[in-house]
Symmetry: C3
Subunit: 275 residues, 3 copies
């Protein structure tokens, strides 16, 4: 298959972002849910970034000034974490640190939905969620089923565009085919593997990787697309080894490391992955 | 060896529960200790369930109404988590959502012992712990050594029956041979592997798997036996690969996925595992 | 290469400590950051110790009396954890339980720097950190970059000796070559592998392993050296399998189990690892 470059993002930009991530080792501050802290840190390390889980109210704002990027993921919230997230997001926005909002399970649960919507005012560089979460964040949809989406990606497209317009950032809706919007631009990323949904934290780690890429790519669309491509290529290579869900998660980390700029270039030249 | 069906649970019931777990993908809300959240989520995903770690005071009761089952595990408690657990257990009981209590390290430590005993009033469908924990919950025994049992399973049998009588649910005492009681019935499950004690969260994940089975099997005895059988068969298959404790934990996840209803049927037909 | 025994620690002492760890299964209470709780528990289990993550204000002091050793790691602090740590350290010191302080990211961040410095008054048996953290704890240096050291180990030597003089315990500065000081003694441990820095929690787990060794070796210098040797030998064996960062972390656990007293003796007889 001959790859067709999409209108709004060029393969060279994705390849350059992958190279920059390894070269610059961005320091990614993560305020994320306790279930996925370990896998998130390991995904960032495997990809070439440096994670720092600084998520308390005393330190989160100051660190958001120093960090290369910030991830805010509202799973396993409590009042203290919610306050620390608000402080970090506000500081990131004020100091020009790119930051990513991952609205885990937003829509169905009142507390985190309120917290996530308030965080939108601090203009996240990228919002990344599944279709139900993006619909929930926008105030539409019926809410998902815990962290699982019950809505299709394309159904969330209007909501994604509405959020992107409001924040000025990009919105990535992850699914079988991921859709990423920014301004008037829309890019789709295909591939990945169902085993990603059989290991906890794959989606949340993708959010952290979007933050890492946002630290090295000026264009939020390029950052989000690069992270989704990186995860998808690594997942396909790991799954090709014919493994169960436990081994898959480990090999996926190996492949996130192995998939360098050259591997991304090769993939994009033949896969038709982005459209 | 010819398998002898125990008096109170038939192999077909265990096989049917395994099949139902894969078919229905029960949504299991976990309020569990922070050490084991990741492995617990991955065990549920590998087995075919859907985990959701909704454990804050604002959301735990509402989610317990929606969830297929709830796990409450009192390791790494703090005041906020204790309150969220009480709300979730009360909501589960009131709404008919099956729920499992895992009294981690109860007996030796006052705070969690008090919290766990108060949770008993919400009539857990199944209590799952080791011998020291079950003795501690019943107010007997000297307390374990952290999460390790210093008492034998059979010594805990009277305590287990007393708790089961009080709650109307089942009580599972995990050990070299697991003993599960409900009403006047007693079933023993043998097998598993010592490597399960060399990886953190294997016991806690078993508690979560009991909850997943309780969502698909009406009889709490069947649910508890099915979870213990599933874990034991998978552990034996993983350990048979001659691996160290790190690799074992990963292969165990692979095998929890691979051990489907057919594998359970084959095992029960030849192993004499339940008695 | 012929091994030259350093002046202050004899290979037989390290070998004996490794054997004692397996024989006695010390109960190690861990008050540690949420990112690394799982890997920390698994490292302790693989090495032959028994972890117990008892870290709430109601239980931490009482458990520090029962435990064989205590680890206090100030990553992902909040006010409640900080209070529980203070209570545990005070109780450990008063009751003669050896305890280890790991000053994660101390120096650059005010809140945890203050908490860590206050903990020093309870005379930790061993302080273990990277160069930036040890400098930060002593009130010198510019602070690291999250958990990454931006200073060299030898630059931290004066700070390490100053802290050791103040506490009466040992101070271990981990790096490419680790330097461990106690009283007038200085020992260097070489080896390990860069992949240890590509998996989250390797350094934090090393701190927990120092605590486990402090439970079985009277001399804090021996305890710290033994833990650093154990980690380094296991890491080299795991990395020799030519694996990526995900698989490395798993094989490292396998090797922490496999590296027994005989393996340590063999290594020290030929490696020149300690000097």
């Amino acid at each position: 298959m001959t790859a067709v470059a999409p209108e709004h993002v060029r393969p060279e930009q994705i390849v350059a972002a992958r190279a920059a991530l390894s070269e610059r080792t961005p320091l990614v501050q993560c305020l994320t849910n306790s279930v996925v802290q370990t896998i998130t840190a390991n995904v960032l390390l495997a990809a070439g970034a440096s994670p720092a889980m600084v998520d308390n109210v005393h330190e989160s704002a100051a660190f958001a000034q120093l960090a290369s990027a910030v991830l805010v993921n509202v799973g396993t919230l409590d009042d203290g974490k919610a306050r620390a997230m608000s402080l970090a997001a506000e500081s990131a926005h004020r100091n020009g640190t790119p930051w990513v909002l991952d609205p885990v399970a937003v829509g169905g649960l009142e507390f985190r939905t309120r917290v996530a919507r308030e965080l939108l005012q601090h203009a996240p560089t990228v919002v990344r969620g599944n279709a139900s979460e993006v619909l929930g964040l926008a105030g539409a949809g019926a809410g998902g089923r815990g962290v699982d989406s019950t809505d299709g990606v394309e159904e969330a497209l209007v909501a994604a565009r509405e959020i992107a317009d409001r924040t000025g950032g990009a919105v990535a809706v992850s699914g079988v085919v991921d859709v990423i919007v920014h301004g008037g631009r829309t890019v789709r990323v295909s591939g990945g593997h169902p085993l990603l949904t059989r290991t906890t934290g794959a989606g949340c780690s993708l959010g952290a990787l979007v933050a890492a890429y946002a630290a090295v790519a000026e264009d939020p669309l390029v950052a989000a697309v690069a992270a989704h491509v990186h995860v998808a290529v690594a997942a396909e290579r790991a799954a090709a080894q014919g493994v169960g869900p436990g081994t898959f998660a480990i090999r996926w980390l190996d492949e996130l490391d192995a998939v360098d700029a050259d591997a991304v270039r090769d993939d994009l030249a033949r896969s038709g992955r982005i459209a």
